[in-house]
């Protein structure tokens, strides 16, 4: 792991009301490459991503992004600094067309409009569906749209929550290839139940259990660690 990470979280504690969901979580994400967060359901992966994105407030701890403390920064300010987030439920605007969804993603960043063509090249099937209502897309296409839309904000770090959940296996491979490509150009932080895919896309991996980081290390070492099987066992 690099000495000057793009994103660094230390001692993060997050609560849902009075119920604590994260306990002193610390992670680092370098400025390039993939980092995976694995864990069983309820381990705190999505909570961690939401806390990093600013959707949930950290009660304790510190988040620094690109050398700046953003622990208390609003979601939109984190996005403007380069922190992109694709949530689990993808959050597309179902009533709008694919093109309008992309435009709305591009407009948040003033230079993003010219970037649309580039993003469509990444997922060519989206280009064929520009005038189509986003609500009529398949699950995989919705994920592609959500990723493309987040990329239009020109993030330095792209955080993805379960990008292959509910996606047909034929499309999973397409998404995995694109994520591998992206991780060569930028930082990608991926929360994924699909362990093989997550380890393939990432160079470093954190395994969470009951709101804590239980295991961390390079993905190719974690892959063979017997502790991983125990921590992910249903």
């Amino acid at each position: 792991m690099a000495d000057n990470p793009l994103l660094q979280a230390e001692g993060l504690c997050t609560y849902y009301g009075t119920s604590q969901a994260l306990f002193d979580v610390g992670i680092k994400v370098p400025s390039r490459g993939g980092v995976a967060i694995l864990g069983r359901n309820g381990a705190g992966k999505t909570t961690l991503l939401k806390t990093l994105a600013g959707e949930l407030a950290a009660t304790r701890g510190r988040i620094s992004f690109d050398g700046t403390d953003c622990t208390r920064a609003a979601v939109e300010n984190r996005v403007r600094r380069g922190l992109g987030h694709v949530p689990q439920e993808h959050g597309i605007f179902a009533g709008m067309t694919v093109k309008e969804n992309l435009l709305i993603g591009a407009m948040g960043n003033r230079t993003g409009r010219e970037h649309i063509e580039e993003v469509i090249t990444l997922f060519p099937r989206l280009g064929q569906r520009l005038p189509q209502k986003a609500g009529t897309l398949s699950g995989g296409e919705r994920k592609m749209l959500a990723i493309s839309r987040a990329l239009l904000g020109r993030p330095h770090l792209l955080m993805l929550d379960e990008p292959t959940e509910g996606v047909w296996h034929g499309v999973i491979e397409e998404i995995a290839v694109r994520l591998e490509e992206l991780s060569k150009e930028m930082a990608v932080l991926i929360v994924e139940q699909h362990v093989k895919l997550a380890l393939r896309v990432s160079q470093y991996c954190y395994v969470m259990d009951r709101g804590r980081v239980a295991l961390a290390g390079p993905s190719d070492q974690i892959r063979d660690d017997p502790e991983l099987t125990r921590l992910l066992a249903p």
Binding site: E100, L103, I104, I116, L130
Partner: protein
Amino acid sequence: MSQVSNSGPLRRVLPVVEIALLVLALPLPWILDDFWVVFATKMIILALLAISFDLVWGYAGIMSFGQALFFGVAGYTAALLATKSEVTSIFILLPLSGLVGLALAFVVAAIVIFGKRIPSVVFVALGTMTGSYAVERLARGWSWVGGQNGISSLPRLTAGTFEIEEGIVFFYMALAILVAIYLAVRFLVRSQFGLVLAGIRQQEGRLGFFGYQVQSYKGVVFSLAGFIAGVSGGLFAFHEGFVGPGQLGPVLSTQAVLYVLFGGVGTLIGAVLGVSVIEMISYALPQIDSLGSAIQEFLETGWPIVLGVLLLATVMFRPTGLIGLVVGDRERIGTFGRRMRGADAKREAP
């Protein structure tokens, strides 16, 4: 794999309805007698109030039950200036009315809309209604602004030395203002700004993830709607020659909601249509002799009950309002922003 479900040419009915209504309105002063010209002018002015509500609710999803607050305070301000300082120039009073509405709407937005958390629709509706009610009560008890009686016998608006009387001149002036504001708002809601408003309406919480300062957009659109309501209130005061506490309160605010829901939310022209139909029916129905004197008597005072039932039926059975009878969903939703260039445009070609 999903298919393109909404392909095919889009039937554009909305511009036809818009142009038809304008063409219908233009010769009215030459066809109708004075009473109906004055009545039509009042409808045009109220259409501005309805458009202000449609802008906030139909496009940005902000349920405001306080549009009359901006309408009435702007009317009172203009009336006070006219009676106490003898300012009657339309070039001062009308922009001032708009600015009063805008400033007040911004203050209300700061209280009920701005904040770290997304305010609920109910909170905003109750907050704006409470503001409207509180100011109405204040006006009723404040003798400096005429108390219960309001401010009457307002002088006529002037443009230089020319007095703008109710009738043909006022009609065309109000119509010109309505058309100008309508076109400006139409441009706004079909622009990229409108796309963001559509995003706010659909998933407000998601927009921050694209870097948008959502509250700023809501503040801007709410203030703009306040400006339009203010212009409407200023015009209304001088057209009627009177401004009273009723023009500030929840009853008129609710009426604006009814106009838009009845005509069709989120189309602008639906708001104009709603005002025209509701005002016409509310005047004409009690005048029909064949209904019998008992029904006529009931309608004179109980018309709001009929209106309420009519509205309930509209919301339950035709939520797209009157305009939904001729304009399809896809056209009502509309398209936003500039067309994409080059390869995207080619991809979109059938």
